[in-house]
Symmetry: C2
Subunit: 217 residues, 2 copies
DNA sequence: ATTCTCTTGTGCATTGGTGCACAAGCAGTA
DNA sequence: TACTGCTTGTGCACCAATGCACAAGAGAAT
């Protein structure tokens, strides 16, 4: 579809960090950003920054750096952030409600436009200006609102069912908090956030305290 | 300290998934687990499972598989899960409160034993059986409770300060939700969970919808 | 004892990621 | 125009991770 040249996974995972760093530089008045500046703010090697950015095209100027505004536009284009991406949260328990209240998604281009739960306790309730709708109406909720991202915040044992329903409803990518492996078509990308897993990973490095790092990929 | 042979990062990140799969097999009555079983539940390649587990030692039996209970013990030993690891949450806003209410940490060996905030609105409040203590008392809170993990759930601009305070207080590893790069000594491992970043990564893969995967590392 | 079946453990080739080091090239100055 | 200072873009060598493929070994059956 897009004529872009295929960006390595490791690079894609860093683009949002560069973006954040860049926004920071811009808001502090800089109009150009060098790879060294970005490397510093992003906590990585400057050569890596340059190689990563080179996948977007040749937007740097030797001897000067990158034009900050231009680079931001290019990163946004690569990440598909030119347009807003509406999100639905499924599962309005502890976590789902915290996510619904969080303003950070809206401001980053991912407005939360619908909330869904299966429990009668939750359905109909108003949370942060949105009325919780029923899981059975998911397909309609998704299509009516043009939703393309689904966030799963249900217990693990409901996650696969919710996942299937989201895919059927036409959601194009999924972010899950449920600690379980989801089965889904290759055409729908998933990211998993599992907090207990993160703590367990820390346990390993903490145990052999003494230096090795534990970078989040 | 431990005479263990140094486990690759990629393997460490998968051990918690194997652990979860193993617990699942055990609770469904299995007493042995083959690499194929585990691979299936964990959503990875069977050869990878075997190579990963081989870093723990030689606990499999050819023709049979792994003794489930024994393997669980070995994974727990590698991850330092033999003993409970007390946790403090700093920042009792939306997210901090959701985390405090979540029972999953306790049951996975990471009891939340203290809650901290800097705002007078929050300090003194009781949440889930714990009284929120003041940020200025962090050092005492950490040492009195033998806390070794700190979770940062404050806004990004307070995160570095909180991080420094946690390290000074003697915390041995950190999990942060603040969307910012933290500066801290190599001896203290960190893991970062950044939800906006996750959504942006999904944006890339969604844009070039058509097959490439987007595995969480 | 021999054979057959099943599963581990690992050697090896391949792929992906990292970072050093340097030539290429722009801007500003004289 | 020629020179200087700075920063990009990338070739290259290294290291980590992946997964195929197979020999080695365990147990069951005959
Ligand atoms: N709360 C946390 O801080 C936290 C931390 C780490 C992981 N998690 C994970 O996040 C998930 C949610 O956690 P939580 O604490 O919010 O749980 P919760 O029990 O508070 O909320 C779960 C919600 O999902 C709803 N639900 C159940 N089945 C559903 C279905 N089929 N369709 C729609 N909604 C359904 C329930 O009605 C409930 O409102 C869990 O998988 C949990 O393991 C939560
Ligand atoms: N809520 C979410 O769903 C969500 C999602 C993604 C990321 N995050 C990130 O998690 C962090 C917390 O988000 P939130 O929505 O809970 O924010 P919040 O504003 O609701 O809560 C922040 C809390 O931190 C406290 N605080 C501020 N400075 C402090 C300090 N120095 N020491 C101790 N406490 C301090 C505040 O008093 C407040 O109670 C933010 O960095 C946010 O970007 C939150």
């Amino acid at each position: 579809m897009s004529g872009l040249p295929e960006i390595p996974d490791a690079t894609v995972a860093r683009l949002p960090i560069y973006r954040r760093s860049l926004v920071q530089l811009i808001s502090s008045g800089e109009s150009t950003a060098s790879s060294a500046d970005l490397a510093d703010l992003a906590g990585v090697n400057a050569a890596k920054v340059r190689k990563d950015l080179s996948y977007l095209g040749t937007y740097g100027v030797r001897g000067v750096g990158y034009d900050a505004e231009m680079l931001l536009i290019q990163i946004d284009r690569a990440l598909g952030l030119e347009f807003e991406t509406p999100v639905v949260i499924v599962g309005m328990g502890n976590l789902g409600q915290a996510l619904a209240h969080y303003g950070g998604f809206q401001s980053k281009g991912f407005p939360i436009v619908a909330l869904v739960d299966a429990s009668d306790d939750k359905v109909g309730q108003e949370i942060d200006g949105l009325t919780v709708s029923h899981f059975d109406d998911l397909a309609r909720t998704v299509s009516e609102n043009g939703i393309s991202v689904g966030i799963i915040a249900t217990p693990a044992d409901a996650a696969q069912k919710v996942c299937d329903a989201l895919v059927d409803a036409g959601v194009r990518s999924i972010l899950t908090f449920a600690p379980t492996v989801l089965q889904l078509p290759d055409s729908v990308p998933v990211r998993k956030v599992d907090l207990a897993t993160e703590l367990q990973i820390l346990g390993y490095y903490q145990q052999r305290e003494g230096g090795e790092d534990a970078e989040t990929a």
